[in-house]
């Protein structure tokens, strides 16, 4: 079984899996590298370009890891969204319980 899953069924994508945790770890690291790398690159310091490159690499990895799962969740959820919105309006107008 692959470390990172790229094909998802709707029911499985709704669960929280290790791909989510990879994203949770990669994402702040990418932010740190993008911010620090941008600053040091603007000063034309070689280490800045290395860190900025790492930030871009982490961002691409993040997209690669989590995007297939998010796509599946979105497609499945859109089918139910209309009914949920109607329910939400009924709650606001006190026609349904919360």
């Amino acid at each position: 079984m692959a470390l990172i899953r790229r094909e998802w069924k709707a029911k499985e994508a709704d669960e929280w899996t290790r791909e989510d945790w990879f994203a949770i770890i990669l994402s702040p690291l990418a932010y740190v590298a993008l911010m620090v790398g941008t600053a040091l690159s603007m000063l034309l310091l070689p280490v800045g370009f290395v860190i900025l490159g790492a930030g871009i690499g982490l961002t691409l990895l993040l997209v690669w890891v989590i995007n297939p799962k998010l796509s599946t969740i979105s497609t499945e959820y859109e089918k139910k969204q209309k009914d949920y919105i109607q329910q939400l309006e009924k709650i606001t107008e006190w026609e349904a319980t919360e």
Partner: protein, 521 residues
């Protein structure tokens, strides 16, 4: 005072027409329904709300703030701006959960997550608090524009406060959130380009990157080039303990909702995205741009420090980035720069006008006063609410000098004692509405005691802000944890509905098992 040529005035006039016009163009879409006036019909691709995230968090006071911390601490000061990194985790956790709830606002979400009386008390409280907070932010940002106009044109500060907010209100009143997000898109592009041009211009004016590094080294200030230059674990004015506290608050806060004041504006962008995926990426990429922009500003301020190293008064050096632009750009470009400042300003004003109005309209008027109101009427109530916020912001702005300290305290209330409850409400099924309400009330009491009363009477020493954070968090837990266990769990049927719709992360085992038993999963 800065001298404007004809070309400068041309740029300013052209930009204002473009910005207001691009918002007003969406009048017909904005007036269709409450969902259009406040969420652009929930149909936006990720890059539109992302540009709005970026534009909203690029306000007139933002370069002053970034300048202040970088001038004082060097590049390490950028960590003060890293609080926005709560979006790192939020984009893939709380954003996803909140988008699936479909709640217009965080106040509405309270009635989906909790039930009964506490949920309504929370919805009312949060709606009122957000109306107040948005009015306050409008006043705060507005008076920053007043100060800039005073610096550039020597106008009285109220002129800059009133004039540009009123101009912005034209398209917010006409097209609601459609106007906000469409204007934000082009304002974000203008702002990004001009920030880059002015900052690079400033670095060049200081002699270029190599000269800045050389000069800082000669001055014995080479530490300013190091983003990780701390003053010790607990000592000095930039200790590692502060950094770690900030990192935990910001990053771990992404598991919760409302752990940052910016959550409330982001929540609107999340719901306006057309899918869950679009919501996640809009928050993530908008914030990534914000952090990179701060870095660009930071380097420009190093250049400003090299040019003007001995400014002692914060009120003088916080205008550093603006000075780089006004003092170094050639004639004809000054107006371009000022027009970009106007873009920066009104993108934030438009967001908070519409955001305060959604709480007033959706949570107070629609739900509690007139549940059967027509869509046409709700759009008009939205416009009246927008106008009331505009007027309120003028009052706040005019008294801002006297109340800033109190209002920073009010902002602090949002963060410390309710930080953990904001996470618990997302990740723990057993945490109930009474506990969350108790957390808010106890935080109100404890924060007064810890920040003001006890130090004033010498009972405890004046504490660093990061020390106050941890103390308030622990004190609050002594109240809301017992309240959680001494009151009943939320109604299981209600929790199952919420779970099936939102699929939250964390400890939801009993609710999930019930949902499976009911055949809903």
């Amino acid at each position: 005072m800065v001298a404007f040529t004809f070309l400068d005035w041309f740029w300013l006039a052209a930009f204002i027409v473009l910005m207001v016009g691009s918002g007003v163009l969406f009048y017909r879409l904005g007036k269709r329904s409450e969902a259009d006036f406040f969420l652009a019909g929930r149909g936006l691709p990720w890059w539109l709300p992302a540009s709005s995230v970026y534009a909203t968090h690029t306000a007139t006071d933002t370069p002053m703030w970034v300048t202040g911390v970088v001038y004082k601490h060097g590049l390490a000061g950028l960590w003060y701006t890293f609080f926005s990194a709560w979006c790192a985790i939020s984009a893939f956790v709380s954003t996803r959960i909140f988008r699936r709830s479909l709640a217009y606002t965080q106040a509405e979400w309270q009635t989906l997550r909790f039930s009964g009386l506490p949920s309504h008390l929370l919805r009312g409280w949060m709606a009122g608090w957000q109306v107040f907070m948005n009015m306050f932010i409008l006043g705060w940002v507005g008076i920053a524009m007043g100060k800039i106009c005073h610096y550039v044109f020597d106008w009285p500060t109220w002129v800059g406060l009133v004039f540009f907010s009123a101009v912005c209100a034209i398209y917010v009143l006409a097209a609601g959130y459609w106007g906000v997000v469409m204007a934000d898109f082009q304002q974000g592009i203008i702002a990004f380009i001009v920030i880059l041009i002015v900052s690079v211009w400033g670095v060049v004016a200081a002699g270029g990157p190599a000269a800045i590094i050389q000069r800082l080294t000669e001055m014995g200030q080479a530490d300013r080039l190091n983003p990780f230059a701390f003053t010790g674990w607990f000592s000095g004015d930039f200790p590692i303990a502060w950094f770690l506290t900030m990192f935990v608050i910001a990053v771990i806060g992404g598991f919760g909702m409302g752990t940052s004041i910016d959550w409330y504006a982001e929540a609107q962008r999340i719901q306006s995205a057309r899918t869950v995926k679009d919501a996640s990426w809009c928050i993530w990429s908008g914030t990534a741009l914000v952090l990179m922009r701060n870095a660009v500003w930071g380097v420009a301020i190093l250049g400003f420090f090299v040019l003007y190293p001995n400014i002692a008064d914060v009120k003088d050096y916080e205008l550093g980035w603006f000075r780089l632009g006004f003092e170094n750009l050639p004639a004809g470009m000054i107006g371009f720069f000022f027009a970009a400042i106007v873009a920066i300003h009104i993108s934030t004003i438009s967001t908070h006008l519409n955001l305060g109005a959604v709480y007033m309209t959706r949570d107070l008027y629609h739900h509690y006063i007139h549940p059967k109101a027509s869509q046409d009427r709700l759009v008009w109530v939205g416009r009246i609410a927008t106008f009331m916020l505009l007027l309120g912001s003028f009052v706040f702005g005019s008294i801002m000098e006297n109340i800033t300290e109190w209002l920073i305290f009010a902002l602090w209330l949002m963060a410390a004692g309710v930080w953990l409850p904001n996470i618990l409400q997302v990740v723990w099924w057993r945490f109930n509405g009474w506990a969350y309400l108790a957390a808010w009330i106890s935080n109100l009491v404890f924060s007064w005691l810890v920040v003001w009363v006890l130090p004033a009477f010498g009972v405890i020493p004046s504490l660093q802000d990061y020390e106050q954070f941890w103390i308030l968090m622990v004190l609050g837990a002594f109240i809301y944890i017992p309240v959680t266990f001494l009151t009943k769990p939320e109604n299981m049927e209600h929790l199952v509905k919420y779970y099936v719709m939102s699929r939250p992360i964390g400890w939801w085992g009993p609710v999930k098992r019930e949902a499976i038993q009911m055949g809903l999963l």
